[in-house]
Amino acid sequence: MFDIILQAGASVLLDPLTLGLMALGTLAGLLAGAIPGFTIAMGVILTLPFTFGMSPIQGLATMMGVFVGGLSGGLMSGMLTGIPGTPSSVATTFDGFPMVRSGKPGLALGLGLWSSFFGGMISAIILVALAPQLAFLGLEFGPWDYFALIVFALTITVSLSGDNMVKGLIAGLLGLFAACVGEDEINGVARFAFGSDHIRQGFAFLPVLIGLFAFSQLLSDVEDNVKAKSPLMAKTADPVRVEHRKAIALVIKNWINLCRSSFIGIFTGILPAAGGSISNILAYDQAKKASKNRSEFGKGAVDGIIAPEAANNATAGGALIMMMALGIPGDIVTAVMLGALMIHNIIPGPSFIQDEPLLAYGVFIAFFAAHFFMVGLQAFSLKLFLLVTRIPMYVLASVILAYCAIGVFALHNITFDIWVMFAFGVIGYFMRKLGFPLAPMILGVVLGKLAELNLARAIGTSDDYFLFITRPWSLFFILMALVSVLFPFYQNASKDTLFSKLFVPISMIVLSFPLFLMQSPVRMIIAAILLLAGSYFVYKRMSTLQAT
């Protein structure tokens, strides 16, 4: 094991080209994260075409740089101008901006930077420790369990994607349908090709993704004539000197908040679809609740900066755990990385870490290293950011649209891919306008083939359909899917209703059953704890209800 880690480390850290690409990726990520209207996912998507000519580790290391850089880039614009660069840095502005306005911009940036760094480091350690274990667990999965896991991933994406669950489900189903078009994986029979040889090959993942996400986003960005012609940011910021030493001391002093927020980030990242945009607000909220100086929050509290920044960088580690261990992307960024691996003919799954240990550990090491690049490049990226923000959006959008076309063409060297990108760009644009969330559709496209393949394998192995509910893991994921479907109703229900009071404890009781069926001592202990805690809460809440 140790020699594999050393080899993987050498392939990343001793190769000047990989290091250079990663530095470039981190810089691009810092900029993409800092510019409002650009997201980390967009940065990673636009980087992908450049990685075709690279080795898998170089490509993934570059994208890792963009990912980590993007998560930290959002804090620059959020703190200096009050406009968060990405949704994952929304909560950073709550205290970061007031601290800057109170005359401490260097300290505010330093706190954000070092919280991101330490949050990322904690999640990197958990990633290295947990991903191989989770992958080992994943080896227990049969096709029934895998299919149920994909169903769970899709349902939770839908339930977390917004107010309108029906539209989320429709988006997910449209994604699954798009993945059906072309020759099927099992029999090689053409489906929905309508006589076209190009459609018979199916839609390549990348053009669909760039179209749905990047193309449609760019169109939305230039929609407003006045905004499109104005510089990216109306407010300007002055270059500042980051107070590193003071910031490090403060972050370490508030280590409890740092660790709590990092773990919130990791947990949120592990959940499919729940990314940095959720974790930063959750961590901020928890930090505020735990603080002795709650009144300071919103006025430039140190804890108010540490919590969201540590959480959003830690989310990346959590999302990578799922992707590396089970081949299930946690968010759009990891979905793109999954696509990048597929382009290099590497199929992530439970056996990925065992089959491709050099690549897997290389990714872990790249994740570590990207955080050092992020710290080192922050000052330079701040100067670049101030330059880029003077460019009007319509200039950036026009150039990037052309770049998308070139990048998509580079995938298979066929013009049809650009047509696919255009078609899905139009679809994505109107879906945005009509209130359909795009994340479920993108995950539907990514997971569609995998879902069908596992369903076919399950049916091909046995005609006993009850295996979907008698196998413990499959039952566990189906129950989790049901819980995630009901979750939005729980969120919207009044606190006094029976449903709202009993939803969590009954979910705990129900989820304990498949864990009992797994017949492993550790899982049975977890099941017993869930059952006892759930029963206790049901009893307590029923007693309160009867009393009132």
């Binding site: 489900l169 429709i170 189903l173 489906r191």
Partner: protein, 162 residues
Amino acid sequence: MTSNKSDIIIAIFLLCFSGIMINDASNIRDLGFEGMKADAWPRVVLWLLVVMSSVMLGKSYIQLKTEGHKDNNTFQVNFSKFKNAFICFGMFLFFLSTLDYLGMLLGGIAFVFGLLTFLGGFSLNLIIKHLTISVLSIGFMWMVFTFGLRVMLPEGEILRVW
């Protein structure tokens, strides 16, 4: 926020789309092998789409009935709002249609220049600025992909003849 009327139209469109695709699914060949047929999974997905679209239709219709008086005049598509998006669609369509003739280099420059000018304005200063941006940006990307990444971008008939 979208209006209930537009949701009804979208739901009906999705139902029609699902219907056409379910009908086309009957053309998927059955090779006669054991196990799951090639049309089974798409059918499941499409029928679920029918169910969800029906739910959306019903929900929007009920909401329209209850909130109808507020919603009566909201379904007026403001085309000027989408003007820039339609310009992008049109320019991209033109770029794609002429790709075989102009190639990626000339076509790309024409696309970026056209889009910049339509979105940014037509004054002489801006036109010079847009031309410079389009030549430099596309020229740079073309060089990166052609010489750096060894991708054979479409040359175009014009450059080939020339």
